[in-house]
């Protein structure tokens, strides 16, 4: 399970627009790495390039290497579908499949991959929902539609869906931005819990959240209007928040930004 990611000289483009410039970063396994930085600096773009979701957008291109335990996911022979099976993702807005029940949502990845065995699906469903701290709340209504849950529950349902396929890495793009403080705490606890088994990368605008949940923090910034975003520095979270190496980082973290 849990694998390390090495990003090497990564440049990301939307058509002609150069969105992210030359990122090099190592993400250790069984760790939570937080991406922070001002809006539009390319955090989501970098995150999406880690499981080849970037190229889903028409015109979007990638240049550089992303090594997963040493293997380049952008190698010519690599199947993006396989990459995404290994590297799961949770999005900013909860997006359960509207036509499916809670149960079917959780096991959607397995079912669509052709797993038929009822008992196996049952088991994975329960394990994933327990893993996402949702089991107690929904165990009596697994056949109800997933869209009928509250926002926080839906987000945990999406996390359960993502971990049901047992990825090695879990990417989360502002998973708590649409949630109340209690659901947020539940998900933060969950992240701390999950990092035993997974490599986790999380994008967040919430400094306290980054400080609370992450072991390592990467600060991204824009070098100027219309210029590509870039990685300013990445280090242990404690160090970044107490004694950052660059003035830029300190200004951003202490709110003296822009």
């Amino acid at each position: 399970m849990a694998k390390r990611i090495d990003i090497k000289g990564l440049n990301l483009y939307y058509g002609r627009f150069h969105a992210v410039d030359n990122v090099t970063l190592s993400i250790p396994p069984r760790n939570v790495t937080a991406f922070i930085g001002p809006s539009g600096c390319g955090k989501s773009t970098v995150l999406r390039s880690l499981n080849r979701m970037h190229e889903v957008i028409p015109g979007a291109t990638v240049d550089g290497k992303v090594l997963l335990d040493g293997e380049d996911i952008y190698d010519a022979g690599v199947d993006p579908v396989e990459v995404r099976r290994t590297i799961g993702m949770v999005f900013q807005r909860p997006n359960p499949f509207p036509t499916m029940s809670i149960r079917d949502n959780v096991v959607a990845g397995l079912k669509l991959a052709g797993v038929r065995s009822k008992s196996r699906l049952e088991e994975v469903c329960e394990r994933s929902l327990r893993g996402a701290n949702l089991w107690e709340e929904v165990k009596d209504r697994l056949d109800r539609p997933g869209g009928g849950l509250s926002g926080g529950q839906q987000q945990r349902l999406c996390i359960a869906r993502a971990i049901a396929v047992q990825p090695d890495v879990l990417l989360m793009d502002e998973p708590c931005s649409a949630l109340d403080p209690i659901s947020t705490l539940a998900i933060e606890d969950l992240i701390t819990e999950l990092k035993k088994d997974y490599t986790i990368v999380i994008v967040t605008h919430n400094m306290q959240q980054a400080a609370r949940v992450s072991d390592m923090t990467a600060f991204f910034n824009l070098s100027g209007v219309g210029r590509p975003g870039q990685l300013v520095e990445a280090d242990d979270t404690e160090k970044i928040f107490s004694n950052p190496g660059k003035k830029e980082t300190e200004d951003y973290i202490s709110g003296r930004f822009g």
Binding site: N51, V81, E82, R84, G88, F91, T99, G148, R161, V165
Partner: protein
């Protein structure tokens, strides 16, 4: 109420003013205009329905109407029925749907999920052109191609082919719209689970858009069922039953109405209105089925 104590008085003067007279007047005028427009739109509709129902309902009362053809029935005789024409209409439009729906839905999937660049633009352009083709032109084209060039006989199937030309653009357009309504996030959620693109389309996107697609298809079918030009050009009239769509004359409701127009007797008149009412009922039941199906397959949240 007259003895206002200082406690009853609002602490601050009323912040809101009353609705002014001019605004009341405008509101009143707008309400009247909208109401009038509604009445103007509804009157002809109601009028039409009332005329058709009052002139035709008697024909529908006899059981023979639904179970017999006009075989051996004299023009002036109050007897026989339109069973053959109902079957003809249903067969022709169903065969049309069997061809047009898969092709239309697949074309829409191509346009929304895969289409980029020139081929997609060409397809969209063709669909636009096709949706502007009058039904008589579609009928003449099939006549020239199917009967003139390829040498087939007139038949119900030729009608179905012309109907396909009329139904296809409607199906493509409505399906396209429904697919575009499916949020991109759902596709990305599926991709992120390691689901291949085609499976995402079949198992996630199509089910999500299903109710809208079904409604679109049903409405297109209802529309096509009343088309008259193709049946006048492409198939012969028959007073008796014909289940074979590929061979022989085959009557549909519009064709029956058209040919009974030559029958000036009261029996003929009744048949015309009766057939018109039957056609309306048929089309309406298709719309109802569409509503029911879309309820059934709608996205559930509770």
């Amino acid at each position: 109420m007259t003895t206002t104590t200082s406690l009853d008085r609002p602490a601050a003067p009323q912040p809101f003013q009353r609705v002014s007279g001019a605004r009341k007047l405008k509101d009143w005028v707008a309400t009247i205009l909208v109401g009038l427009a509604f009445v103007v739109a509804v009157i002809p509709l109601v009028w039409l329905l009332v005329t058709v129902i009052t002139s035709g309902y008697r024909a529908l009362m006899s059981s023979a109407w639904w179970t017999h053809s006009l075989k051996g029935v004299l023009p002036e005789e109050f007897a026989g029925g339109v069973y053959h024409a109902i079957i003809g209409s249903l067969l022709q439009s169903l065969v049309c749907a069997v061809i047009a729906v898969p092709v239309g839905v697949l074309a829409a999937i191509y346009l929304v999920e895969y289409g980029r660049g020139r081929v997609a633009r060409m397809t969209t352009f063709m669909v636009d052109i096709l949706s502007g083709v009058p039904s008589i032109v579609a009928a003449l084209f099939i006549f020239a191609l199917w009967i003139g060039t390829l040498g087939f006989q007139q038949s119900g199937f030729a009608v179905s082919l012309a109907l396909v030309l009329l139904m296809l653009p409607v199906v493509v357009r409505s399906t396209e719209e429904m697919l575009r309504l499916v949020p991109q996030e759902l596709r990305e959620a599926a991709y992120a689970l390691g689901v291949p693109k085609w499976k995402t389309i079949v198992r996630i996107v199509l089910p999500t858009a299903m109710s809208g697609i079904v409604t679109g298809v049903m409405l297109a079918l209802a529309r096509v069922m009343g088309e008259t030009a193709p049946v006048l050009v492409l198939v012969g009239y028959s007073r008796s039953m014909n289940f074979n769509i590929f061979n022989g004359n085959m009557t549909s409701l519009p064709l029956l109405i058209y040919s009974e127009l030559n029958n000036p007797t009261p029996a003929g008149q009744l048949r015309i209105w009766g057939a018109a009412l039957t056609l309306i009922i048929l089309v309406m039941s298709f719309n109802l089925v569409a509503v029911a199906l879309s309820r059934f397959s709608a996205i559930k949240t509770k």
